[in-house]
């Protein structure tokens, strides 16, 4: 399915040192007719130039802030650009542009403001067992702490309406944003649904993925956030 004419769908990608893969990711999205905003999070390589040459609107952080900060920047940029629907998408090539129509269909068909991609409703290709177990534990933790009935967590492929995106204010700059966004969705009271997506792990995406140490850092960040006003 192509994007509905007259409706502005923006795909937001937070990218850090993704020059080797970002052009292919953008090309897939552009060929499907989406507007693409890449937030270059202070990359040391040619991510920004490559993304611009591939046809994306590029927003450059002057310094490296983290993926959560990049996504919030991209969401705000897309809202200012008049987006009706915003899709968050990873820049490392593990998401598929062909999953986006399913997310947008779910927004429309179910009257939801958020659609969360779920690899456990869809498929995970080449997923290591350790990653699977960590995600299962994280999903259980998220269900307990947010009350959301979800089957996946820390999945960067999501879609949201303009109304939904306006309610998101990510303050976790690093990886804990993926938990924070779920808390904010729960607090918003807006409708959310899940939709099946396919995540394809590659050696490249796994090298940039989260480790067990990152999981502990996420918990620390979430705890510290609770202590702040």
């Amino acid at each position: 399915m192509q994007p509905i004419p007259g409706r502005s769908v923006w795909v937001v990608i937070a990218a850090y040192n993704e020059a080797t893969v970002i052009a292919a990711v953008i090309a897939d999205l552009k060929s499907a007719g989406y507007r693409v905003a890449v937030v270059d999070d202070g990359s040391a390589d040619a991510t920004a130039r490559t993304a611009a040459e591939a046809g994306a609107a590029v927003v450059r952080h002057p310094i490296n802030l983290g993926q959560g900060a990049g996504l919030q920047t991209g969401i705000e940029f897309a809202l200012l650009a008049g987006a009706d629907v915003i899709v968050t998408f990873d820049g490392d090539g593990q998401h598929r542009a062909t999953d986006i129509p399913g997310l947008i269909d779910a927004l429309d068909a179910q009257g939801a403001d958020f659609v969360l991609g779920s690899r456990f409703l869809g498929a995970s290709l080449n997923q290591p067992l350790s990653r699977r177990l960590t995600l299962k534990a994280a999903t259980w933790f998220t269900r307990v702490t947010t009350g959301l009935r979800i089957t996946d967590t820390h999945n960067g492929l999501r879609a949201m309406t303009r109304r939904g995106a306006s309610r998101i204010r990510l303050r976790q700059n690093r990886m804990a944003h993926a938990s924070e966004i779920l808390h904010q969705i729960a607090d918003s009271g807006l409708k959310y649904v899940e939709a099946p997506v396919t995540i394809e792990y590659s050696a490249y995406s796994l090298s940039k993925g989260q480790t067990l140490g990152d999981s502990l850092m996420i918990l620390t960040d979430l705890f510290a956030r609770r202590l702040q006003r």
Binding site: A57, V58, H61, L65, T73, F77, A224, L227
Partner: protein, 111 residues
């Protein structure tokens, strides 16, 4: 007596610190305030400190006061961490404003 007065002055400084910090991080402010009050009490009623220390298996009241002091120090460290996070949030907002303004200007110029 000199040690008691010195500790009292330090604990009053912690009370002031906790009072100032409370609006920014209520949990840290409250814990630091309670710990400092507890410390003040035990500094001036050491027999109770010794009794409580024996009760919780620490040995001497003086040790209990030292433990409280260590606890306060850790709270101050935690608060410094939270302050650094707050500073980072301000930097993030600033960097975001600059990034979006530059991107919109580039698009407006057709770059």
């Amino acid at each position: 007596m000199i040690a008691q007065i010195a500790l009292t002055a330090l604990l009053f400084a912690i009370l002031l610190y906790a009072w100032i910090e409370y609006p920014r991080s209520p949990a840290v402010g409250m814990f630091a305030w309670l710990a400092a009050l507890g410390g003040l009490y035990f500094v001036w009623v050491p027999s109770h400190a010794t009794r409580l220390a024996e009760l919780v298996g620490i040995g001497r009241g003086v040790d209990l006061i030292i433990y409280i002091w260590v606890g306060i120090s850790l709270l101050v460290l935690l608060n410094l961490h939270l302050k650094l996070r707050a500073q980072m949030e301000l930097i993030t907002v600033l960097a975001r404003e600059i990034a979006i303004a530059n991107a919109r200007a580039s698009r407006a110029n057709g770059e």
